[in-house]
C-alpha cells in the first residue's frame, strides 16, 4: 500500500466551497422533495382510510405503483422521459431554472410520498375508533373531522416512523447525482476527480451525511418528546412504528 494521505485537499483551493455547495444543494433538494412527499403522503394516506372505494383505489394505486419502482428509474423518467410532452412554455422555464433540480425534487417527492402515505395510514389506523365517533357526534363533517381531530393526532403518533422516512429521503437525494444535480455526493466525486484523493473526499462526504442524519434524529427525538400525547404513547409501546 503506497497511498499518501493529504487531508488538506478538503479545504485548499475550491474544494471547500464545492463541499459547502454540495451540502446546501442536498438540503435544498431534500427540503423541496420533503414538502412534495408530505403533501402527497398526507393526502393519499388519508384517502386510503375513507369509506369511499374509488378514492381508496386511486390512493392505493398511487402508493403501490410508485414505491415498487427504483427511485433511479423515476429520476430518469421525470428528467428524460416526461419533459418532451410538457407545454413549450413550461419546458423553456425548466431549462432556465435548473430542470435537473426540479425533476430530481419531483422524483424524490413522488417516490417518498408513496412511502409517507403508508406511515400516515398506519398512524390513522392506530387512532381508536372512538375518536372518529366522537368527532362525528359533535357534528363535524368528514373533512373537518380529519382536519381538526384525526390528522393532528396521527401526526403526533407517527413522529418516529416519519423521522425514519425523512432520513431515507435525505440519503436518497444522493441518487439525484445521476441526472446531474450538484449535491453532496456529486461534489465528493468531483473532488475525487480533480485531486485523485479518493479516501479523503469520500471520508468527508460520509462524515457529513452521518452528521446530518444524527442531527435530524436528535431534533426529531426532542420533537417526539414534546408532542407525545400523555397517556397514549410510551416509548417502544406505540404500536405504529
Amino acid at each position: 500500500m503506497n497511498y499518501h494521505f493529504n487531508w488538506s485537499v478538503l479545504w485548499s483551493g475550491q474544494t471547500g466551497a464545492w463541499l459547502l455547495h454540495g451540502v446546501v444543494m442536498t438540503l435544498e433538494i431534500s427540503l423541496v422533495g420533503w414538502f412534495i412527499a408530505a403533501a402527497l403522503g398526507i393526502l393519499s394516506g388519508a384517502l386510503r382510510t375513507l369509506p369511499i372505494l374509488p378514492l381508496r383505489w386511486l390512493a392505493a394505486g398511487y402508493v403501490e405503483f410508485f414505491r415498487n419502482v427504483p427511485l433511479l428509474v423515476w429520476m430518469f423518467f421525470w428528467y428524460f422521459g416526461v419533459p418532451p410532452f410538457l407545454p413549450q412554455a413550461l419546458q423553456d422555464w425548466l431549462l432556465d431554472h435548473g430542470a435537473e433540480f426540479w425533476a430530481g425534487a419531483f422524483a424524490l417527492g413522488v417516490y417518498h410520498g408513496a412511502r409517507f402515505s403508508e406511515v400516515i395510514r398506519s398512524g390513522i389506523g392506530a387512532i381508536p375508533k372512538t375518536q372518529f365517533e366522537a368527532a362525528a357526534s359533535t357534528g363535524l363533517t368528514t373533512a373537518q373531522a380529519y382536519r381538526l381531530v384525526i390528522l393532528p393526532i396521527a401526526f403526533r403518533l407517527i413522529v418516529p416512523p416519519a423521522t425514519n422516512e425523512t432520513l431515507n429521503l435525505l440519503k436518497n437525494s444522493s441518487v439525484a447525482l445521476t441526472i446531474g444535480v450538484a449535491e453532496l455526493t456529486f461534489q465528493v466525486r468531483q473532488i475525487e476527480t480533480y485531486s485523485a484523493k479518493a479516501f479523503e473526499a469520500l471520508a468527508a462526504g460520509t462524515v457529513i451525511y452521518l452528521v446530518l442524519c444524527l442531527t435530524i434524529s436528535a431534533v426529531m427525538a426532542r420533537i417526539e418528546r414534546q408532542t407525545a400525547i400523555p397517556g397514549m404513547i410510551t416509548r417502544g409501546n406505540t404500536g405504529v412504528s
Partner: protein
C-alpha cells in the same frame, strides 16, 4: 409515442439487463440474488453479535449497523469503486465492487431483521433448550434460529424487494443491469419515455409480485389464524 422500440430491444433488456445472460457481465437478478444470500449470512453474524453478552462484540455490531444506516448507498458503492483502486493500485470489475457494496450495506439492515426475529422467539424456548442440556451453539442452531427464521420470512422478502430496487444504483459505476441496459438502448434510439416506463413496469411487476407473496407468508404464518 412508439413502443416498437421495446419490442425490438426486448431480448437485450430482459436477457442481458434483467437476468444477466449476454456479452456483458451484468444482470439485475445476477446481482440481487447472490447479494441477498451473502448479505443474509453476514447479517446473521452481525445480528447474533448484537445479542452477544460480550460488550465489545455488541458494540462493534451496533456501530456497524448504525454507521451503514446513516450513509447513502451511492456513497458506499463509491467507497469500493474509488478507494479500492487507490489503496491497491488496481481496479476491480464492476460486478465485484457492486456485490461487495451491496452485501456490506444490506447486511446492516438484515442484521436488524435477524435480531428482531430472534428476539421474537419466546424466552421459554431458551430455558427449555438449556434444560435439555444443549450448548449455546446447539441451542441456536436447532431451537432458536429455525423458529426465528420463520418469523423473519415476511421481513426478508420485503428487504429483498428493497435490494432488487437498489441494484439499479449499480448502473452508476457501469454495471449492466436493467437500468443500464435501458440507458444503452436509449443512447441509440432516444426514446426515454417508452424505455424508462417499460423498465419501471418490469421492476414493478417483480416487486409487487414479491410483496404479495410476503403478505401471503404473513397470513400463512400468523399463529392467530390456526
Amino acid at each position: 409515442m412508439d413502443f416498437q422500440v421495446i419490442v425490438n430491444n426486448f431480448a437485450f433488456l430482459m436477457l442481458q439487463g434483467f437476468l444477466g445472460f449476454g456479452a456483458f457481465a451484468g444482470g439485475t437478478l445476477r446481482l440481487a440474488i447472490p447479494a441477498i444470500v451473502l448479505g443474509f449470512i453476514l447479517g446473521t453474524a452481525i445480528g447474533l453479535a448484537r445479542l452477544a453478552r460480550a460488550r465489545w462484540l455488541y458494540l462493534a455490531a451496533a456501530a456497524y449497523v448504525e454507521f451503514f444506516r446513516g450513509v447513502p448507498l451511492v456513497m458506499v458503492i463509491f467507497w469500493f469503486w474509488f478507494i479500492v483502486p487507490a489503496l491497491m493500485g488496481k481496479s476491480l470489475p464492476e460486478y465485484s465492487v457492486a456485490l461487495t457494496a451491496f452485501v456490506m450495506f444490506e447486511a446492516a439492515y438484515l442484521a436488524e431483521i435477524v435480531r428482531s426475529g430472534i428476539q421474537s422467539v419466546p424466552r421459554g424456548q431458551v430455558e427449555a433448550a438449556t434444560a435439555t442440556g444443549l450448548a449455546h451453539g446447539q441451542m441456536m442452531r436447532h431451537v432458536i434460529l429455525p423458529q426465528a427464521l420463520r418469523n423473519m420470512i415476511p421481513a426478508l422478502v420485503t428487504q429483498f424487494i428493497v435490494l432488487l430496487k437498489d441494484t439499479s444504483l449499480a448502473s452508476i459505476i457501469g454495471y449492466v443491469d436493467l437500468t443500464k441496459a435501458a440507458q444503452i438502448v436509449n443512447n441509440r434510439e432516444i426514446r426515454p419515455f417508452e424505455l424508462y416506463l417499460f423498465i419501471a413496469i418490469v421492476y414493478w411487476l417483480s416487486s409487487y409480485g414479491m410483496s404479495r407473496y410476503a403478505r401471503y407468508c404473513e397470513y400463512r404464518l400468523d399463529p392467530s389464524r390456526s
